[in-house]
């Protein structure tokens, strides 16, 4: 049973990671910095509970906010470039963050034990959950509560003008500028929101594994972050969830019986999926049953003069 709870926890944190990239991808930007943001969130939240003994909820919110601020600061220079340049700039930022934590040693004495990031050793004993007697299903429920809050928030944003503006910028930057949208503000806003979500996700991740180290937050994780929303389709937040279930559930856990070969199949299936469904598993548009109902739809318009 614990195995399935563990799996659900992995789904949860990866959904957050994917959603953080989803927001940025809506504006048409491919950010490889999400793993870096995730790392910042993980270390910040870990420091909050393990080193300073604060409650998990404020810890992850602080982690989210810190990450959002950093994402905003990085976004200003980085989002002046786009396309391949942005991929590389954000990749460089992500690696910079990872290597920063690789070199960071900052430990405090808590109850006769040194805790805190310790360079290449990583950050051990982020044991908030076991220390406070949380059962595995408590943890799982907590994670999914956060995931659902984030999903509902993003789903709401998608129905507002902000969501339409993000998609407009993603579709045609020149046209978006011509109708008076401030591209930098929109993109940096998306990056900041993405940073917040990645920070939350990272913060939770640190507590589920209790030991984090820089190697986890590399290029591979950044790639996964963008892979979820693209594979799932940018139509709605549900695409990202489906992709997480597909990759983490089906490809990684479901094919476990294939042993080593499963990883091979994993890459091949992504290649195949993108050839068959280039707009993602759920496509570009929100699934019909989630789309807005026409409110008070008028009787068919007066004859159009055309």
């Amino acid at each position: 049973m614990d195995f399935y709870f563990g799996l659900l926890q992995i789904f949860g944190v990866h959904t957050l990671l994917g959603l953080s990239a989803y927001v940025v991808l809506l504006t048409g930007q491919v950010s490889m910095a999400q793993a870096g943001f995730y790392a910042i969130g993980a270390y910040t939240a870990g420091a909050g509970t393990a080193m300073f003994g604060i409650h998990i909820l404020p810890a992850i919110i602080v982690a989210g906010l810190v990450t959002a601020v950093i994402a905003c600061i990085v976004g200003f220079p980085a989002l002046r470039v786009k396309g391949l340049m942005l991929v590389v700039a954000t990749l460089a930022f992500g690696e910079m963050v990872r290597l920063f934590f690789f070199n960071l040693t900052w430990q405090v004495d808590r109850g006769g034990e040194l805790v805190g990031p310790n360079g290449a050793e990583g950050f051990r004993s982020i044991r908030y959950f076991p220390e406070h007697g949380w059962e595995v299903w408590h943890v799982t429920a907590f994670i999914w509560a956060v995931v659902i809050v984030v999903m509902v928030a993003l789903w709401w944003v998608d129905r507002t003008r902000a969501g339409a503006v993000l998609r407009a910028v993603g579709h045609d930057e020149t046209a978006a500028q011509s109708i008076g949208l401030n591209l930098t503000a929109v993109k940096v806003g998306a990056m900041t929101a993405g940073g917040f979500i990645a920070g939350l996700g990272g913060g939770i991740y640190a507590h589920t594994v209790t030991h984090i180290e820089h190697g986890v937050f590399g290029v591979l994780l950044a790639t996964f972050a963008i892979a979820y929303p693209i594979l799932g389709g940018l139509g709605s937040v549900f695409g990202t969830v489906i992709a997480v279930l597909f990759i983490q559930g089906f490809l990684i856990e479901g094919l476990r019986f294939l042993g080593d070969w499963r990883s091979l199949l994993f890459g091949a299936l992504i290649v195949l999926a993108m050839n068959l469904r280039p707009t993602g598993l759920l496509g570009e548009h929100a699934p019909r049953w989630f789309r807005r109902r026409k409110t008070g739809s008028e009787p068919l318009e007066l004859k159009e003069a055309n």
Partner: protein, 255 residues
């Protein structure tokens, strides 16, 4: 109201726009014509801020727009359409208008209400614009599912969504039939009657001669004539420019 003062734009060594000065008066339909490559589109791009001028300035009601970013110009009251239609094909018709609500008045609305209120695509302004452009029955369609003519109408409606003071139309009749051009002319007049000044760039002479109050003619980036349609048609330089450059002279004479 909209003035260009000694505006020039160099691309490398080429003077795409060369020392052009224009004054467009409030409430008129002003035509900007010229042979291909004479700098008409560049002029529009200089007014909207897609390009920065090499020298000269653009002012709207005495406010200098030259140093402003594109989005600031929109809130000052400048809106445009594109020669090759640029809609947000991934949004619905109504959403296309919704995202364009960036005018001065609209910017004063509360931040949260402006960005994070759902259902704003059903606002009264949008309904009115949808009716005005006869797109009401298509309001929930994806913009890329529209017909060519509908796309043109939607693009103009989108430009109007920011409550502009001046609307720049970049060849709105390109690819349109004669009848379509008739309807377009009516539509442009209707836009003017809403209190929006129109700057029209166009190849189709009949359209331009029929509806504009005044016309300026560009050739090789320089303004060679300005005046009423009748005056411009009589102008020797204009005739030479068109006779020398293309077959358009026929249209010019007959219109």
């Amino acid at each position: 109201m909209l003035t260009l003062e000694n505006l020039s734009k160099l691309f490398g060594g080429v003077r795409a726009v060369d020392d052009v000065s224009l004054t467009i008066r409030e409430g008129e339909i002003f035509g900007l014509i010229g042979p291909n490559g004479s700098g008409k589109s560049t002029t529009i791009n200089l007014i909207t801020g897609l390009y920065t001028p090499t020298t000269g300035k653009v002012t709207l009601d005495g406010h200098d727009l030259t140093a402003m970013a594109q989005h600031e110009r929109t809130s000052m009251g400048v809106a445009r359409t594109f020669q090759n239609i640029r809609l947000f094909g991934n949004l619905t018709v109504a959403q296309n208008l919704w995202v364009a609500q960036n005018g001065h008045e609209q910017r004063r609305a509360h931040f949260l209400a402006r960005w994070f209120k759902a259902g704003g695509e059903h606002g009264p302004d949008i309904e009115e614009l949808l009716r005005f452009s006869q797109l009401h029955s298509k309001r929930d369609l994806q913009a890329n599912a529209l017909s060519f003519g509908e796309m043109r109408r939607l693009e103009m409606a989108r430009a109007l969504a920011s409550n502009p003071r001046v609307l720049l139309l970049d060849e709105p009749a390109a690819g349109a039939s004669q009848e379509d051009a008739q309807l377009l002319a009516e539509r442009i007049r209707a836009v003017r009657d809403r209190g929006v000044t129109v700057l029209l760039i166009e190849h189709m002479m009949e359209l331009v001669m029929g509806i504009t109050d005044r016309i300026a003619v560009l050739n090789f980036g320089r303004k060679i004539a300005e005046g009423s349609p009748a005056e411009v048609q009589m102008n020797e330089d204009v005739r030479a420019a068109y006779l020398g450059g293309s077959h358009k002279n026929e249209e010019l004479v007959h219109a």
